[in-house]
Subunit: 453 residues, 2 copies
């Protein structure tokens, strides 16, 4: 759960405002969270949070880009867009207009393992949100015109977010080089040439297969009680028939890696080179007990911000790096990635920074971590969790990502104890086992005509 | 068809013996080849060759490793093994024993796009071959015991052919790095962890889907006439009902490549380093008219043996390379690979050899080829075709690979004229368009502890 919390925490630091009043109990302290399942298979989580008259309504589908069929990359994200088109009952734009009219907020996002739809409104409007959201679970009108128009929008979006960003271009090819079998190899937005071929039939197949109550998790956080949520959920989502029984989400897993690989993009739009070294490591879902927690603490000690080894050694002490950090994407259904990255400063070269970073990795693997830095890392982690829990939508998001990537409600509650239980040897063992230089994949983003070595 | 012919020719140079008598007409001159299709969809090609009382019987299935489902890598090759187990009518070994008893030969092979079964016997035994081969198209006995035993054999085979060979380990990871979407990314033999999971259900699904007359091509070459082949084919294969209608073999294609990538394996078993630089290029099936022929001639001029630019410059003139060559795998249903490789000699480093080879590539792209070297390359190509045609099994193989990778009988006949039609500008254009250093993928096989740069 660690990076679930951390990722949320990072995103929310800027967003947390009035909800931070110190004397109120934080959202979702655990004991008062309730869960139940409707007859049609919809799983519901209710997180009471009475600090303000606000409710967060999130519907999570257990489908993401990693569930796509070969050759259909981008369909999960494409479908997220299509969910904002009209239904038989409500023309396109009516749902969004209704949210805006009551001063609410909405959003949606697609990831490797899930797709989620989000509204934050006053408690009296919860029923309306549920009616709209339940409506578009089954009643979308998917004409060729709708598909064709939205495909153009997505092609434009890809152009802006990927083709215009050298870092994103490199990231795609790095992922496809890091993962040789897992579908995490494919970009969430899809390859351009495959997006261009997505059609109405693909969309309808995807909709019928994955958009069903028994493939979704409803998370409601805020100023509501469980009974009300249950009654409203039954009256809205409860009316939708169960969808097809889906097979377990078993995807190709990685073969053994025996090589060191590099991916280099040089581009005139790049001014300062960067490197990013990645390894495939277990996720919270695939790891043995304690291993993912150890990887989270490893990423924190090695490269989690200003107190980390990489920052203090490369940026502060040696002064060769403008940035140096590490990141572990622990929240994933399948094996995932651990990343170390850095950027030179002044006269330093990318090779120098990379070498210094890898020396820190090797040193940690050889000598381990001290109990003091482990304790400090645990404290920082738990602090980030407190921030995340303090946000209603942050809490809802933690439960959503956990439940759509193979975790349980209990996992969220137990996570702090599991972090506390990690021993220094486990952190060292993780570094030793997974962060070998000879089995790494490094991406280099270079100014035009420059070589990384 | 070029590399179809060349690959065959290379394999056959040592095998051609009595069939080379100069006054006999070569096999398969074109005009006398006949084709027909049985009612159940089996396509038949008959290639008369009366030089010796021998007949080649090859059954080709239009399925290979690139047709496998995600997570099931290796099932096509696994199934080739299973075809040698027993049927309801003939216990395991009986078919092979029958071939041996009459002094015949047999073989089988699995590739990306096809799987083929081959026997060479006296003409009187053709009917027996057809009966056995037709029998195992539908009557295999696939018990758990058969599957479990054969899986162990294949795991052992993979251990010997891949895990024990650093070059093969590197090759696998290089392919998976070169191709980011195409199924050519996966090893034909399968990833070890996926082979280990293949089971009886996978085998039966694969058998029912792909092993059917309407997904096969029968090629008979030798001392037989078409009427006899047709009658025998109808009496044997003709009894088998048509299988399911299969969708077109449309597979994921490559996204645009924007990066240069490397894959490095250092291993104590390696004594001399080698490099291999690969690009994704069109195949005979995906290319525009003349483009694949130009790529074939480009590979010949650049690196096709002792007369090629790479050999003469790097091995002979500069003396820095023990070997230097190029290879184009033109016979493929989808976009395929063009490879340049080399090995240093004496005090030269791998970096020197690679740099010199890439300088030759760049020079050819910048300055083109001369008419003289183009003519000489065409002549060498046509000579290799004459060798191939002179072999009965070589000819059968050319038709089999062509017909299972999207080509036609006419393509084989027309190929010499299409090679003749290639102009020097087309060869240069192919080099310019496809062989860019900044969009290449290079594999380095290094002695333990050595770096490629």
């Amino acid at each position: 759960m660690a990076s679930r919390l951390r990722a949320v925490a990072l995103a929310l630091v800027l967003a947390i405002t009035s909800a931070m009043a110190q004397n109120d109990p934080a959202a979702g302290d655990g004991a008062d969270i309730s869960t139940f399942t409707l007859d049609n298979g919809l799983e519901v989580v209710v997180i009471p949070d009475r600090r303000a008259p606000v409710v967060t309504h999130m519907l999570w589908y257990k489908v993401g880009s990693a569930d796509e069929q070969p050759g259909k990359s981008g369909i999960a994200h494409f479908f997220e867009h299509l969910m904002f088109k009209g239904t038989e009952n409500h023309p396109a734009g009516e749902f969004s207009a209704a949210i805006a009219a009551i001063g609410g907020q909405e959003n949606a996002f697609t990831s490797y393992d899930y797709t989620a739809y989000f509204q934050q409104v006053d408690p009296a409007s919860l029923e309306t949100m549920m009616r709209f959201e339940a409506d578009r679970m089954t009643n979308l009108v998917l004409t060729d015109e709708v598909i064709d128009t939205e495909r153009d929008v997505i092609i434009e979006e890809r152009g802006q977010r990927i083709e215009n960003e050298p870092d994103a271009i490199l990231g795609e090819e790095l992922d496809a080089t890091l993962y040789q079998a897992s579908p995490y190899r494919l970009p969430i937005i899809g390859w351009m040439h495959e997006i261009e071929q997505l059609n109405r039939e693909d969309a309808i197949d995807f909709y019928r297969r994955y958009y069903a109550p028994n493939n979704a998790v409803l998370v409601v956080a805020g100023d509501v009680d469980t009974d009300t949520v249950q009654r409203l959920a039954e009256e809205t989502y409860g009316e939708i028939p169960r969808g097809p029984n889906l097979p377990a989400r078993i995807r190709p897993t990685e073969p053994e890696q025996n090589t060191r690989r590099t991916v280099t993009l040089d581009d005139p739009r790049v001014t300062t080179p960067t490197f990013r070294t990645a390894w495939v490591v277990p996720s919270y879902t695939t790891a043995e007990t304690g291993q993912a927690e150890a990887l989270d603490l490893l990423s924190e000690i090695l490269g989690g911000g200003l107190r980390s080894r990489l920052y203090r050694e490369l940026v502060v002490k040696q002064g060769i790096a403008a940035s140096a950090a590490a990141y572990y994407r622990g929240t994933a259904l399948d094996d995932t990635s651990f990343i170390v990255y850095g950027q030179p400063r002044g006269e330093a070269t990318i090779a120098q920074v990379e070498e210094a970073a890898m020396a820190e990795v090797a040193k940690l693997a050889a000598e381990g971590v001290t109990d003091d830095e482990l304790e400090a890392a645990k404290k920082r982690f738990k602090r980030s969790m407190i921030f995340a829990r303090d946000s209603q939508s942050g809490m809802a998001r933690i439960y959503g990502t956990t439940l759509t990537t193979g975790g349980t409600v209990a996992d969220v509650a137990e996570w702090p104890d599991r972090i506390d239980a990690v021993k220094a040897e486990q952190v060292q063992a993780a570094a030793k086992r997974y962060l070998e230089a000879s089995r790494s994949v490094t991406g280099y983003l270079m100014p035009a005509g420059e070589e990384p070595t």
